[in-house]
Symmetry: C2
Subunit: 220 residues, 2 copies
DNA sequence: CCTCAGAATGAATGATTGTTCATTCCCGAT
DNA sequence: ATCGGGAATGAACAATCATTCATTCTGAGG
């Protein structure tokens, strides 16, 4: 929106470019998925059209049907990408090869899940747009279930490790992991729907207090 | 789907009735809202059409535009109804004129939020369908925000009462209310999207444990 | 420099959908 | 009984959308 001086030939990647370019298939697919994410975040899943996506990607109308078979396919692959991206990031932290200290790893998890990222709001919108449809679409349920199950197992293992380290009593790692995951989902929902009443800072504080009550020795 | 024997004149309310009936405006509006809820739960918000809704209600095609100005209006009023119904039920319990005992009131709240009700799943679907679109639709955000704020205030007051009664230290009622609300939302999400991995019983147990950690004297 | 496989285009198409409104006909008031 | 206001109908309409495919054009290999 800033550099729109169409005086000479324009070869910048983001602005309108008349020249047709041929790119590898994988690159075009990702380009279309990224455009779909932006469209869902801005207009809502139910308002997204193919023209909207291809226009956002700066490409022609028929290209989405060329690289994905149909609109349904494009939306399904977009969900899969967002779901895997989120859970992969989570799992990388929890497996903990990077951060050996358990307290620091808890903080890193909090930062990843509730930290600030400009693009974070876009991802949340997409996330819940699909959740909203999941009740009626078994395909979406299956994608989310698959990645969710793995993340839940890793979280349970992570909590088990903390429980052993702190010798905590009367704490079931499975129930605690379920509760923590639900809490994070609910906080994301609050950040998305009522951002005026729930700041990111307070959301992080609330989640931290949940962990502090469960693992007082690991959270100051 | 069971009693479909079209042998004689049919005057039952739910089955197909040829005879045209004139009913009060308010009744027709509610009838259409109920049909909309069922359609959203079954097919998803993005797949709902006017014909689907009017057919589900057993009425003619143009009637939705007669009682609501447009489709957008119908969807907006449906959201308002579901949101108010849920929060009114919550508030009635928390105000506690019915149940004086605080522990019993906590249990009643858990039962209402995570109890079994056949229609519960339908309402959850609608709830999250709108949440998914809320990120892109300020109108939805405003409706949810309005009812949510009132419920949050009542919950905070309720928790404050419990804190005073139990003389709990180091517990902020506002943060606790935010956390509990988020936890319930997250559990609803789990019940909707991954029902195989989260039973209602376990969801209730997880929420109860959250409360027990905060109010040990009030939850056995 | 030339060639051509196949990537990209975008106008055309058929299907779907929200909305309208002329017509029908129910039901309470007279 | 009957009359009229207005609730209900449903066929028709205009707009929108996903998808197709004949055509254009690119860029790497010969």
């Amino acid at each position: 929106m800033s550099d729109a001086s169409a005086t000479a030939e324009d070869t910048s990647p983001d602005t309108v470019n008349k020249r047709r370019q041929i790119r590898p298939k994988a690159e075009r697919r990702q380009q279309l998925i990224d455009a779909t994410i932006r469209c869902i975040a801005q207009h809502g899943l139910s308002a997204v059209t193919m023209q909207m996506v291809t226009s956002e990607a700066g490409l022609s109308a028929g290209i989405a049907n060329l690289h994905f078979e149909s609109k349904e396919n494009l939306l399904r692959e977009t969900l899969r990408f967002v779901a895997e991206e989120y859970h992969d990031g989570q799992i990388e932290i929890m497996e903990g090869s990077r951060i050996p200290n358990l307290s620091e790893r808890l903080d890193a998890l909090l930062d990843f899940q509730l930290g600030r990222g400009v693009t974070q709001r876009q991802k949340m919108s997409v996330w819940f747009a699909y959740y909203g449809e999941a009740g009626a679409r078994p395909v979406y349920q299956k994608i989310v279930s698959t990645v969710d199950r793995l993340a839940a197992q890793k979280l349970e293992a992570f909590f088990t490790e903390i429980i052993l380290d702190g010798q905590y009593r009367d704490v079931d790692p499975r129930d605690l992991a379920t509760g923590y995951s639900a809490l994070i989902d609910g906080l994301h929902l609050g950040l998305l729907v009522t951002p005026r009443e729930l700041s990111k800072r307070r959301a992080r504080s609330v989640a931290r207090e949940f962990l502090r009550r469960a693992f007082p020795q690991h959270i100051p």
